[in-house]
């Protein structure tokens, strides 16, 4: 599970993270990345801690216990929307990148569809298969990222990172909003945790995953800015790729961006299959179905359509990820439902303590 969350988070890094931070914070993007890491950590602890109180239940199950069936189902549906939406966007970005960089004549539908088919197959095989996939992909994934970062070292010019904090702390904080917003994906934790061997340790695992992924984010931001300079990395759509494309170690080791593309594809696959699994599993629990598998097919089709028609082009997507849009949107989706659940939990616990003096876990 550590690997699943780690890969999901780091995939975003390769995808387009540096551009988001550099846009606001310029050469201090790395500081934004650090802040973002801390912010994400807080959110994950908020999300995870509630789950730890109900170790063998998913969010769909305990939310209904806490705030009643109808409100609980509404909250669950909001979360399901998040999964659907995030996965669709992930897919779209990946598709766009492939088309711009590698196979310009291939239709987007084709790329998205085949990725969803592969993910649906994984989701259909169950959470065990997804977890093992992540286990297997993890070393390959990390090796590819580390290799591309290391190979970029000769091209780095650390002067480009100066001056530090020239425009004050504000842009740094603003730049951190979007990466924090994408912590939305960590909501899958609420569905994955009950399937883990030790559900109580799930939050701790997620924290480690965030820390690891944040390190990758910081490192790749530093390298990208140092290799490309502030302006090109802020303007380019996929700065990480541009950075990798700039790598030229010797005569033979050049144009290794296919490697990064592979890493991204693997990461995306893990992410999307997790979303698909969580989405289907969550929906089956909202609808009180016994098996989530029949839902995968229809959901996969919806995702394909959504990722193609949900967004008109790359620029719309970019404007969505601007801090003033993505920030409130995501925080609303995380904080409001979580707030309601925490409040309900607190109330119930107080009530329980007053009535019977029972210690600890609320069991309404």
């Amino acid at each position: 599970m550590l690997f699943i969350l780690f890969i999901m988070r780091s995939t975003i890094v390769i995808a387009f993270m540096p551009v988001l931070t550099t846009a606001n914070a310029a050469q201090d993007a790395w500081a934004s990345a650090v802040v973002a890491g801390v912010g994400a950590l807080v959110l994950v602890i908020v999300i995870g801690a509630l789950g730890t109180r109900f170790p063998d239940q998913t969010l769909m199950e305990y939310s209904q216990k806490l705030v009643g069936t109808i409100l609980g189902k509404i909250i669950s549906l909001i979360y399901l929307w998040v999964f659907l939406f995030l996965a669709a966007i992930d897919l779209r970005i990946y598709g766009e990148a492939l088309i711009t960089g590698f196979i310009p004549e291939t239709p987007l539908v084709f790329i998205v569809t085949s990725m969803v088919i592969a993910s649906a197959f994984a989701a259909y095989s169950g959470i065990e298969a997804i977890g093992r996939n992540a286990d297997f992909i993890f070393p390959v994934f990390v090796a590819m990222i580390v290799a591309s970062l290391l190979a970029a070292i000769p091209q780095m010019q650390l002067m480009r990172l100066q001056p530090v904090l020239a425009r004050g702390i504000r842009p740094v904080l603003v730049g951190a909003i979007t990466p924090v917003a994408i912590t939305l994906q960590m909501l899958t934790l609420t569905l994955l945790a009950p399937s883990v061997l030790q559900p109580r340790k799930a939050t701790r695992t997620a924290v480690w995953a965030i820390i690891g992924a944040s390190l990758v984010l910081v490192a790749s931001t530093v390298v990208t800015v140092a290799v490309l300079g502030v302006d090109p990395s802020a303007r380019s759509v996929f700065p990480f790729f541009r950075m990798v494309r700039a790598i030229r170690l010797t005569e033979f080791l050049e144009r290794i961006e296919a490697l990064a593309m592979f890493a991204w594809g693997f990461g995306l696959f893990v992410g999307v299959s997790t979303f698909l699994y969580c989405g289907a599993r969550g929906l089956s629990q909202v609808l009180n179905l016994n098996d989530y598998r029949p839902l995968i097919g229809p959901m996969a089709v919806i995702w394909i359509v959504l990722s193609i028609h949900g967004v008109t082009d790359m620029f719309q997507l970019r404007s969505f990820f601007r801090p003033e849009v993505a920030g409130p949107y995501a925080l609303l989706l995380i904080l409001v439902p979580q707030g309601i659940l925490w409040a309900a939990y607190a109330v119930r616990r107080l009530a329980a303590r007053e009535s019977g003096g029972q210690e600890g876990r609320a069991k309404p």
């Binding site: 590698f102 088919i117 144009r255």
Partner: protein, 541 residues
């Protein structure tokens, strides 16, 4: 007169009206038109009678008086009690038969029992043989035949409705030779043969502990093949042993000629290209697996022993890795892993790069390939598919041909066809290199069944690479990976110890650690006794 005539007529009509399936006295045991399962039922119910003549008649009838059925009559002590021995010629040691007759006649006579009492003779015979040979008592035809068909000799006495079966097995087997399909540079040269008992003895000689336990199950309603499974009690999990036993017991088939039959019955899922158990001809491989808590299934009549459960990484290990010194052993293993990956995706990768991603190649290499493809009439996909197919045909021909003509095929195939095809401009040299490289890579898989899986996957990847480029290859890899992740061999994850990641067991995967460092057995296989040896046994200066 008239009355007798009428009676005769009536009798004739009656006998005609009897349905063909029902038994008529003149048909003996088996009325005409009985099919095999009905015959089985009859022989299964056939009891031995007290009369020697009836017994012999029944045996002759049940076996159709086959030419290899040997029946020798004798009289104990000259005249009193009649007896006979029944055996299958060629299955028994002829000297043992001579000895047996001598024992039954002369030795029994010497015991000075009342030779008129058939029961006493029978008991005396039993007593006489017990110390010398394995003797069993049977009371029906099925039991008798069960032993006789395995090389036993049945001794029948007039007046007793039981028979003695004496062990006289003595058929010819191939001698123990070097295994043909799995060779090593260093390591033992003995391989399993077709005889199950010899095979289990080869294993016994390597693992002498009494806790090495071998149990057998008879599979096949007609072949009644002995299938034995061996494990080290206390090391192999009891659940696994029970599961294997249950799966073997459940098989309902008329005949088992090779362990491949069993494989399809007892594997976890049939919908996979990958072998879910290891098959090997090498006793050292089996012994090593047993020491890790695995289980081996021997089948009578084949030198291929199934070892289960297995993991993908185990299938890529060869005995040499452990016998050679560590750096070499680990290095060749890494080479083998790379070669296996190559044997799956190399041709597909070539097609993808040449068709879609020329920019990934260094410029000089790209120019070379482009120049060599000049004038080739086919697209790269078709070219590679043709060559791969050709190679499969060559390989198949090489396997089927008599050994003497084998080299001729390789000369015609490789030298003449390959060279001429390039000169004629039908295929480009780059494709021939790719295909040849892939072929050589696929030969490096130590377990043949894995190499076959790679052969089929290769074609899938060629098509994916040709149609969708590297993206298609990635798609294929992802599907394959998911499939492998979901695969289980007897409940154990197939990709272990990579996924799920078991850090402790990584010591023996891509590379291996020193023998004195292998302090634990694989976690999933060895259930209660993971410790192999103590710590700190490294050699000291």
């Amino acid at each position: 007169m008239l009355v007798r005539l009428v009676r005769g007529l009536l009798k004739a009509i009656k006998s005609q009206s009897t349905q063909p399936g029902r038994k008529r006295p003149e048909d003996g045991l088996f009325p005409n038109g009985l099919d095999i399962s009905e015959r089985e039922v009859v022989t299964g119910q056939l009891k031995l009678s007290a009369s020697l003549e009836t017994n012999l008649k029944n045996i002759k009838e049940a076996t159709g008086d086959s030419v290899d059925l040997g029946i020798r009559r004798f009289r104990v002590g000259g005249s009193q009690v009649k007896g006979a021995i029944v055996y299958l010629d060629g299955m028994v040691d002829s000297r043992a038969i001579e000895q047996l007759i001598e024992d039954l006649t002369i030795e029994l006579f010497k015991t000075r029992i009342d030779l008129a009492d058939s029961l006493a003779v029978y008991e005396a015979a039993k007593e006489t043989f017990v110390p010398q040979k394995s003797v069993e008592e049977v009371s029906d035809f099925a039991g008798l035949w069960d032993k006789v068909s395995m090389g036993g000799t049945g001794a029948l006495f007039d007046g007793t409705n039981k028979a003695l079966v004496i062990e006289t097995r003595g058929w010819k087997t191939r001698s123990v030779e070097e295994p043909a399909a799995e060779t090593t540079l260093r390591g033992e040269r003995e391989g399993f043969i077709e005889s199950l008992r010899v095979n289990t003895s080869l294993l016994r000689r390597r693992i002498r502990t009494p806790h090495l336990q071998i149990k057998s199950v008879f599979v096949g309603s007609l072949t009644k093949t002995e299938v034995a499974y061996a494990y080290i009690k206390g090391l192999a999990s009891d659940d696994l042993v029970r599961e294997v036993h249950d799966r073997l017991e459940k098989i309902d088939i008329d005949g088992v000629l090779e362990s491949g039959y069993l494989e399809e019955y007892i594997e976890d899922t049939s919908f996979t290209l990958f072998p879910l158990m290891e098959r090997t001809e090498r006793p050292d491989r089996v012994a090593a697996s047993l020491l890790e808590g695995k289980l081996a299934v021997f089948t009578e009549g084949t030198p291929f022993v199934l070892v289960l459960p297995t993991q993908l990484s185990t299938l890529l290990q060869a005995p040499d890795d452990y016998y050679e010194r560590l750096p070499i052993g680990s290095f060749i293993r890494v080479v083998r892993f790379i070669a296996f990956t190559m044997s799956i995706i190399l041709p597909g990768f070539y097609v993808a790069v040449v068709n879609f991603h020329q920019e990934l190649l260094p410029t000089v290499l790209l120019m070379r390939i482009a120049a060599s493809r000049e004038g080739v009439p086919f697209p790269a996909v078709v070219e590679v598919l043709i060559m791969e197919f050709l190679f499969e045909v060559l390989r198949e021909a090489g396997v089927r041909l008599p050994r003497a003509i084998g080299p001729a095929v390789s000369i015609v195939g490789a030298l003449i066809l390959g060279d001429a095809a390039i000169r004629a401009g039908l295929v480009s040299p780059a494709v021939v290199i790719t295909v040849a490289l892939t072929a050589i890579a696929s030969f490096s898989a130590p377990v043949f069944s894995l190499a076959i899986a790679a052969r089929l996957l290769r074609f899938i990847f060629i098509v994916l690479g040709g149609a969708f480029g590297l993206f298609g290859i990635q798609f294929g890899l992802l599907i394959m990976l998911t499939h492998l992740s979901a695969l289980r061999s007897f409940g154990r994850p197939y990709l272990a110890p990579f996924a799920p990641l078991i850090a402790r067991d990584l010591k023996d995967t891509l590379a291996r650690v020193w023998w004195w460092r292998m302090t634990t057995r694989p976690k999933l296989d060895a259930f209660r006794e993971p410790k192999r040896q103590g710590e700190g046994h490294e050699p000291r200066v």
